[in-house]
């Protein structure tokens, strides 16, 4: 788990990805021009409020937007030397669930209520292994159930999703995702629907499996704690844009964007004195139909006015190296504010 294997090409590379939906109420800019890459065995965390575009990004990667006629995707997605945006539906379908798999949030609604969990896993396996007969597939499925730590897999194989406990359900979900040892695993809020104790178990499970399969993982969450625990690199999204990107440790130690500060501020910490209260980001996320002019965050940004009215006019661009940020505040001013006003409260 190190970031220094600089030579080999990234396993996943996303260039200027833009996703927009045409709805009755107008064009929705779900994701606009986000860039990021990911190496095999690495974990990328994407954080942001709901509607920041993080989930849409993941759906775009899997090409799930394709079934929705009103979705427009532009940019490039390179998965292991293959470009996905321009690829045919059939090509993408073959990759889906095979080379790249996804773990969804609420597993209860994400699993078909009328089919047994086992059969759904078998289905997932056989679609990518047409040669495999039922028996093989069944063994494989039971084996996976066992691998994700479900007791008595043979028996549970025949159960329906609603008969599983929350945690077990999520394990089953993971088993279904990993049944074809994907090279890229996208986990969309895998733990939000679960209670805290189970959350930890699931995260550990994902980490172990990742090491076992050596696959790349994209961890989508609004919970920085999860990211801190798993990710090598973090992407902060706001209003459909990547506003800050950097190695996890670096980002947690020297967060650059006021929004990131807000997120950190809203994150409960064990080492924090009980007396100081959390200070979450005030205000509500922007409408993706008509984003505020200039910096999308400016209406909620307490420091927006600090250097003239640029924030209200220009859209900031992501600048910097390994740790880059999209903010109009000059770096020195930003550091000053962080040191003097924000850090003390964290």
């Amino acid at each position: 788990m190190s970031v220094n294997s600089a030579t080999d090409r990234p396993f996943l590379e996303v260039k200027d990805l833009t996703v927009r939906f045409e709805t009755d109420d107008g064009i929705v800019q779900a994701v606009s021009g986000s860039n990021f890459s990911l190496r095999a065995g690495q974990t990328l965390g994407i954080v942001g409020e709901s509607g920041s575009g993080k989930s849409v990004t993941s759906l775009a990667l899997l090409g799930l937007h394709r079934t929705r006629s009103n979705a427009k995707v532009s940019g490039e997605i390179w998965l292991d030397e293959k470009e996905l945006v321009t690829a045919t539906d059939e090509e993408v379908r073959k990759l889906r669930g095979g080379k790249m798999a996804m773990i969804f949030q609420d597993p209860l609604s994400a699993m078909h209520p009328y089919f047994t969990v086992g059969s759904q896993i078998v289905e997932a396996y056989r679609v990518h292994h047409p040669s495999a007969n039922k028996k093989v597939a069944r063994e494989r499925a039971i084996d996976m159930l066992a691998r994700v730590g479900i007791p008595q897999p043979e028996r549970r194989f025949h159960d329906y999703a609603h008969q599983f406990s929350g945690g077990m359900r999520q394990r089953a979900m993971i088993a279904m995702a990993l049944v074809n040892d994907p090279k890229l695993l996208i986990a969309d809020e895998p733990t939000t629907a679960l209670d805290v104790t189970v959350q930890a178990q699931i995260l550990d499970l994902i980490r172990d499996l990742q090491e076992e399969f050596g696959s790349a993982v994209i961890m989508i969450t609004h919970d920085l704690g999860v990211v801190a625990e798993l990710a090598d690199e973090v992407l902060v999204m706001y209003g459909g844009k990547v506003i800050e990107r950097g190695p996890t440790i670096d980002l947690f130690q020297r967060p650059q964007h006021p929004y990131t500060w807000g997120l950190l501020g809203s994150m409960p910490r064990l080492d924090r004195e009980v007396r100081d209260r959390l200070n979450p980001v005030k205000g509500s996320p922007p409408s993706l139909i008509n984003l505020p002019d200039g910096c999308a965050f400016h209406p909620r940004c307490p420091y927006a006015g600090r250097n003239g009215d640029r924030s209200f006019k220009e859209v900031p661009v992501l600048i910097g190296g390994a740790h880059s940020v999209a903010c109009h505040l000059p770096p020195d001013l930003r550091n000053k504010i962080f040191q003097e006003e924000v850090a003390p409260n964290l």
């Binding site: 709805t23 009755d24 109420d25 509607g51 929705r68 609604s109 969309d188 509500s284 409408s287």
Partner: protein, 334 residues
């Protein structure tokens, strides 16, 4: 995120909307202030629904102006015109069901009465019955529905049982039988309006369980919802919760389903008249005209097509409008 991106976006575009409304689609019909605005915007955009609404308004106007229209373009509904029909064959002398500049919708076989006037007055009957019975169903439905859902317990089980029972009833049969045993005239309403009120009673009565069920369901789900809980925790008394919190939120579904049972009632009224237990002659009703047409439809199809067409247009218009309204208030249903 349980609704997938598109729906979650509608969530973000309506920031003031109560989160719960979006989390559970079924309930999203329950209007928050903003939702009403959205609904209205959607409705205005829905050309078809607006079209339906216009036709409905037009028909209502016709019904109201029936006497005037008859004076202007027609002849009295009970005035016979033997000169307009062939005495031997009983069919209109002029082609196309006897349509002439004088009788713009043609004339009735046998009697030579003016179909236009009879259609116009038929609209009066048809719409009156449909609206009043829908109104009655709604009142009863809301009353029992909220009672069942809100009070719960034995009240609920009682009312639910009654609703199931009524729905398990051969309704049309029973309506026919009922109408034929109920008195032909009372309260000095005159044969026409007495029968209208009988129809309203019967149709309205059999209609209420449909609304009742929906209202009950809504009330049950609302009962558990935050704001009711809140109101309760603030020590609000039941009636207050019922009228200040629940009913306003039931408004949307009630509106939709009331609109949607009107066309059904029109069809039922016509059916009863068709089966001969509707409005007594010489008062016209579309269903009645259709049943008269049975004897002649092979030789004088117009006599069947005109009233049949009217029923069709009317019901269609109401359905279009009703659907539009529902879609507008409940995006999931689109």
């Amino acid at each position: 995120m349980s609704l997938g991106p598109e729906a979650s976006i509608t969530e973000e575009t309506t920031p003031t909307a109560d989160a719960a409304e979006v989390r559970s689609p079924g309930e999203s019909a329950i209007a928050g202030r903003s939702l009403k605005q959205i609904a209205w915007r959607r409705l205005k955009k829905d050309k078809v629904a607006i079209g339906g609404a216009c036709v409905v308004l037009f028909l209502i106007l016709i019904a109201i102006l029936a006497p005037v229209l008859t004076k202007l373009f027609g002849h009295p509904i009970d005035e016979w015109h033997p000169d307009q029909v062939d005495p031997t064959f009983a069919t209109p002398v002029h082609p196309w069901g006897g349509i002439t500049s004088d009788f713009i919708f043609g004339v009735e076989p046998t009697t030579g009465r003016d179909i236009f006037s009879r259609i116009v007055y038929g609209a009066q009957t048809s719409l009156t019955v449909a609206f009043l019975s829908a109104f009655l169903s709604t009142i009863l439905g809301v009353l029992f529905g909220t009672a069942a859902g809100f009070l719960g317990g034995w009240v609920d089980s009682m009312i639910s049982r009654v609703m199931d029972f009524l729905l398990a009833f051969p309704q049309l049969l029973f309506s026919i039988a009922l109408v034929s045993v109920l008195p032909q005239e009372f309260l000095g309403l005159g044969s026409r309006w007495s029968r209208v009120s009988v129809l309203v009673l019967v149709i309205g009565f059999f209609g209420w369980p449909y609304i009742g069920r929906i209202v009950r369901g809504q009330t049950l789900s609302l009962r558990e919802r935050e704001f009711v809980e809140a109101a309760r925790s603030l020590g609000a008394r039941s009636p207050r919760i019922l009228f200040r919190e629940l009913l306003p939120n039931l408004a949307a579904p009630i509106l939709v389903y009331t609109t949607l049972i009107i066309p059904t009632n029109i069809l039922t009224e016509a059916a009863l008249s068709f089966l001969g237990v509707g409005i007594p002659p010489p008062n016209p009703s579309w269903g009645g005209m259709l049943s008269d047409a049975v004897t002649f439809y092979s030789i004088d199809p117009m006599f069947m097509i005109i009233p049949g067409g009217m029923i069709f247009i009317t019901v269609l218009a109401f359905n279009l409008f009703g659907d539009g309204l529902r879609d507008a208030l409940d995006p999931k249903a689109r």
